[in-house]
Amino acid sequence: MAEIALEGASVSSRRWRDDHPILWLTLTRALFGVITLLAVSVIVFAATTVLPGNAAKAILGQTATPARVRALQLELHLDHSVWYRYWAWLTGVLHGDFGISYAARIPAWQVVGPRLANSAVLVLLAGVIGTIIGVGLGALAAVRRGGRGDDVLAVVSLGVTSLPEFVVGIGLVIVFATTFFHVLPAVSLVPPGSSAWQNPSVLVLPVATLVIVIVPYILRMTRAATIEALESDYLESARLKGLSPRRLLLVHALPNAIPPVVQVIGLNLLYLAGGIVVVETLFAFPGIGQGLVNAVDDRDVPVIQLTVLLLAAFYVFVNIVSDVVSLLASPRRRLPRS
């Protein structure tokens, strides 16, 4: 990505870049990530403070008295220039000062922090479980391609990829919580002060919803990449050599399917960053997604800014990691170019 920006690099650095492909990729992606985050910070700042003619009025609502609007204008430094305000806000953010939540009247970080921990548990669990199931089923479908199981999986995954998260979640609630069985809570109530981790039963349905939504993508990508490897020439020669099917799949085919599968897992983690908003709201799960919805209802600007910045940082981080991991998994590209 950033290669284009650095086109003018000198000959010596080009050689350095060929000698250290992994380091080079990490550095260029990190640089592009920082640029992305800066651009995101400008958009977030502009959207939440500059666009509406009068931010103070927007925050307080149409019924605010002029005196209150004036007081809030002073508090937000609205009498200074836009650039000054952006700079003050950005330096604050870089020092960990995200402002005071308008709704809770405590630092925004204290509002978002505990929710972040809950969401992290949700996304991690869904990511790990979804990856295991998706890769397993995908490899199985690739080995039995053309069979009945493969066809059923193809149709089911096409159907499931079409569904909105909340439809999947409602289906699970109806089956397991309200109508058919009554084994799981329909609403994820977490007592204040404790984390979702300490209440495993509230995690089951939200995690299951997210797993169902991401599995088809990982499955289809694993299947396609494994079939590609299984039908390659080198695998044909390995087969002719008399290797067992299990060894063919696990040792020779799957490792070559890793790069594209890692990328699609990365994409699914990024999807989860957005998907948690709806799923957390559906289950009243106290994570940053539900927090964002509440903050938008309350026009709680610092909490919105912090949440969006966190999600953007997560995006940049996942991108870098999945690029580096898929590079590490492709020996041809990992070695220095001669």
């Binding site: 592009f32 959207a47 990829t161 609630v173 699914n268 999807y271 559906l282 964002l292 995006y315």
Partner: protein, 340 residues
């Protein structure tokens, strides 16, 4: 599935120029297959219900005609909602706004994305990098979050949600259209026309754009499905039409508490949304398969093409960053300007 289908699939792998009505052939071919028919039937069913529903509703969607969460009865086939309105009437009246918004957002996303992608591919070099990198920044915002950010500023306006969803489609559309434009402008027939000295804009309009129709059709279907998912999700979160307007997403939210008493208030709109998205996605899948030649003896190419095939099929298109899957350093370099 005979003549029309042949012509429709010839283009992506064949090196011949095809006529402008190619997209109608592609659609006709797609709707003659099994998947295409199912997709079309499901979509048509829900669209009809949403379009004619307001005229067929037995009661006013906003009047209190029964008790809260009343069980289904002869007068109220799907029972009552959270404050005693007729669920069936609200379901019938509550779909068309969602459909109009989803179509509008799709059109905006396709226009913006095609404009950015075609310009980037055509200008190449510095401008290519600049356009694509700035479009990519939108990817750092999950669509729902981007929409919520704008809503938090301007308020839950319908046009704003349409614009937000449309804008967040742009990066993916831009990537696909850029790649397709690059591929087509390398073809011999375009080169030949260029050699005649015809103005580049005319070449673009008369030679390149008509050949972008099949990737555009696939993108249209994917973006439409995704728009429906996102916009109904935003309505579910309460950021679309304000109450008491009937709206499938909002209905689910309102009636969630009465799921045990009268599930229809939640189940009916959820099932309609599900049928609609399954319909559009299945039809898109049929179009995508035709566009890359699956089902026409090219299965091996599609399966063997693995990642590229999957991307063309749109399996990844619902997520950001899809082109990094097929991108590697060599490819990145080789696509840098070669022709001036």
């Amino acid at each position: 599935m005979s003549l029309t289908a042949d012509k429709a699939v010839k283009r992506p792998d064949g090196r011949t120029r095809v006529d402008r009505r190619q997209w109608t052939r592609l659609l006709a071919a797609a709707s003659s297959g099994m998947r295409g028919r199912i997709g079309l039937a499901l979509t048509a069913m829900v669209v009809l219900a949403a379009a004619l529903g307001p005229f067929l509703a037995p009661y006013s969607p906003t009047q209190f005609v029964t008790t809260p969460f009343a069980k289904p009865s002869a007068e109220h086939l799907l029972g009552g909602d959270d404050i005693g309105r007729d669920v069936l009437s609200r379901v019938l009246a509550g779909g068309w706004v969602l459909l109009v918004m989803a179509v509008a957002a799709t059109v905006i996303g396709l226009l913006l994305g095609t404009l950015a992608g075609v310009c980037a591919a055509y200008l190449r070099g510095r401008w290519d990098g600049l356009i694509m990198r700035s479009v990519d920044i939108i990817l750092a915002f999950p669509t729902v979050v981007f929409a919520l950010l704008l809503v938090s500023v301007i308020g839950p306006k319908l046009w704003l949600i349409v614009v937000a969803v449309g804008v967040s489609h742009a990066p993916q559309v831009a990537r696909v259209m850029r790649a397709a434009t690059l591929e087509i402008s390398e073809r011999d027939f375009v080169k030949a026309v260029e050699l005649w000295g015809i103005r580049s804009w005319t070449v673009m309009r008369s030679e390149v754009l008509p050949n972008l129709s099949s990737p555009l059709m696939v993108e249209l279907g994917l973006r439409l499905t995704y728009s429906i998912v996102i916009i109904s999700g935003l309505s579910f979160l309460g950021f679309s039409q304000p109450p008491p307007a009937p709206n499938w997403g909002l209905m689910i939210n309102e009636n969630l508490l009465g799921l045990a008493a009268n599930p229809w208030g939640v189940v009916a709109p959820a099932v309609l949304i599900a049928l609609l998205t399954i319909g559009t996605n299945t039809f898109t899948d049929a179009v995508g398969r035709l566009a890359i030649g699956v089902g026409r003896g090219n299965e091996e190419a599609a399966a063997g093409g693995g990642v590229a095939g999957a991307v063309m099929l749109g399996e990844l298109q619902q997520f950001p960053l899809d082109d990094t899957v097929v991108e590697d350093p060599e490819a990145t370099e080789s696509r840098e300007p070669t022709v001036d």
